[in-house]
Amino acid sequence: MDDLYREVIIEHYKNPAYRGHLDPHDIQFADNNPLCGDHIEITLQTASDGTVKDARFDGHGCAISQASADLLIESIIGKPLEEVKKLNKDYILELLGIDLGPVRLKCALLSLKVLKAGVYGLGEASDELVE
């Protein structure tokens, strides 16, 4: 099997470490991928120094969307929010360690889109956020 379904992706899909919902939270945002019905919600607590204190994701979808959400959350805890705002497509592809075609790229980028829309306080998660 090719590396699209690398062990690390299957592992994060089956046993995500950061699946859940934080209450209370400072930031919450959710969106769907209309193409396949993938759904991601992110809740996030911020620290007084402007870093991410804790975060969780919830939702359902394919292995790529759910594993990339878990990897993303794991990687941003402790990061300054200003740095989170700058994350883009390449960052996710590096986390996943794979190349993706245009359709699956949408699955992989859903969690980052949701995260950035939440951090920026936007009403809608648009594709431009992750270009």
């Binding site: 099997m1 379904y5 019905g37 359902h60 292995a63 790529i64």
Partner: protein, 407 residues
């Protein structure tokens, strides 16, 4: 069973290899069918020999192009047993055919508070045009419910009919569940209640013998690309008195009899509804597709698909964790939607693609139906005249690989 060895030779695409090196196993004909050589060549020959714009020219090429365009219409009319080719309006696809009815017949006949009956198993193409109309005109929509086993609840339909609906618009065959709805009965009951009927036949015309006169349908919509024809062309059948009474759809050339600076008189049927230069080569291809299907025989195609679907349901039933949606094989066409426990349909489709197996994953443009069953998405394998039982085996083997990977 059809002689698939022979039939597959008509479809060159079925010989090609996919990215992984395996030969393509095409189980996605519900989305679009593959095209036989006769269709591809008919369009090629049209462009090489006869290409010209239709109807207005007097030169040789224009006359030939017009004759080909109109003779394709006659073939299509015969194929669905329409009384006259004037009752076949070319559209871009079934979606545009439904929109045509929504924009012309419905907007000139329905008013605020009027009821349209749809079903819970509609494709978005037979939902959204009515949503748009409802929002614009204050029309009410209600829905024939789908039962657990994927059938329409006809008792509920009878109670809906008591509310004096003006239109009943429904799919002849579900693109998700494969359910073949009792169209004749639905239409008869609609007529008894004084409602006009519209059949979304995008899935039935390619796979079953459809006779618009036997059905007594008022409107019936279908697409060429799902029945071995090209994309970009479809058809609306309508009863003559309805089509005559409707205002035109789009305005432009060809749909007019006479134009003055401040007014126009619409053309006669069916040209009244065909503004601008149409998809001429595609119409020729549509005609060739109808010839191809007629030669093989729609009853033979339906029987072939039935046998494959029965086999597929039997084999899928053996795979632990697979859940198939929809009615038993005697009530459905060659569409099988399923879920595999613990694996998202997109992952199923992607892993099967490694072995060249093409299925579809998602909500198949029927989101409300998926919501009804409480699932975001399904995997869908669909069959046509070129598919074989061996391809069902490849699908099942592929599903075991998916299970292994996701252990």
């Amino acid at each position: 069973m059809l002689n698939t060895n022979e039939i597959r030779r008509d479809f060159p695409i079925l010989e090609r290899a996919t990215a992984g090196g395996a030969r393509v196993t095409y189980l996605d004909s519900t989305a679009t069918s593959q095209k036989p050589l006769t269709v591809i060549e008919a369009m090629d020959v049209f462009y090489r020999r006869s290409n010209a714009n239709i109807h207005r020219g007097v030169h040789t090429l224009a006359e030939e192009a017009t004759a080909l365009y109109e003779s394709a219409r006659e073939k299509i009319a015969r194929f669905v047993n329409a009384p006259s080719a004037r009752q076949i309006v070319y559209t871009r696809n079934a979606t545009e055919a439904i929109n045509l009815v929504a924009y012309t017949w419905a907007r000139s006949n329905l008013k605020a508070g009027d009821l349209i009956i749809l079903t819970e198993m509609e494709h978005h193409s037979n939902l959204v045009p009515w949503h748009m109309l409802a929002a614009e005109r204050g029309i009410e929509l209600d829905f024939i419910p789908v039962t657990e086993d994927g059938l329409l609840d006809l008792d509920a339909y009878r109670s809906l009919l008591a509310r004096d609906p003006k239109l009943v618009a429904f799919t002849h065959m579900s693109n998700v569940l494969g359910t073949i709805n009792p169209a004749m009965e639905i239409i008869r009951l609609a007529r008894d209640a004084g409602a006009v009927s519209l059949v979304d036949a995008a899935q039935s015309v390619p796979h079953l013998t459809v006779d618009v006169q036997a059905l007594d349908a008022d409107f019936l919509a279908f697409s060429a690309h799902k029945m071995c024809g090209p994309t970009g062309i479809g058809a609306l059948y309508g009863k003559t008195e309805l089509l005559e009474s409707m205002p035109p759809f789009l305005g432009g050339g060809d749909m007019i009899k006479e134009v003055k600076l401040r007014s126009f008189r619409p053309n006669t049927l069916p040209h009244k509804f065909e503004a601008g230069t149409p998809a001429i080569a595609e119409a020729v291809g549509f005609g060739a597709a109808v010839d191809y299907l007629t030669k093989i025989g729609m009853d033979n195609i339906a029987a072939h698909e039935h046998e494959i679907t029965e086999y597929a349901l039997e084999r899928l039933d053996e795979v632990p964790g697979v859940k198939v949606f929809g009615p038993p094989s005697d009530k459905k066409g060659g569409v099988t939607s399923f879920t595999l426990e613990g694996v998202h349909p997109h992952d199923v489709a992607q892993i099967l693609d490694r072995d060249g197996i093409a299925i579809r994953a998602g909500h198949h443009c029927a989101q409300p139906l998926h919501e009804k069953f409480g699932i975001p998405a399904t995997s869908r394998a669909s069959f046509y005249l070129y598919n074989t039982k061996e391809e069902v085996d490849l699908l099942v083997n592929g599903l075991y690989k998916v299970k292994e990977l996701f252990g």
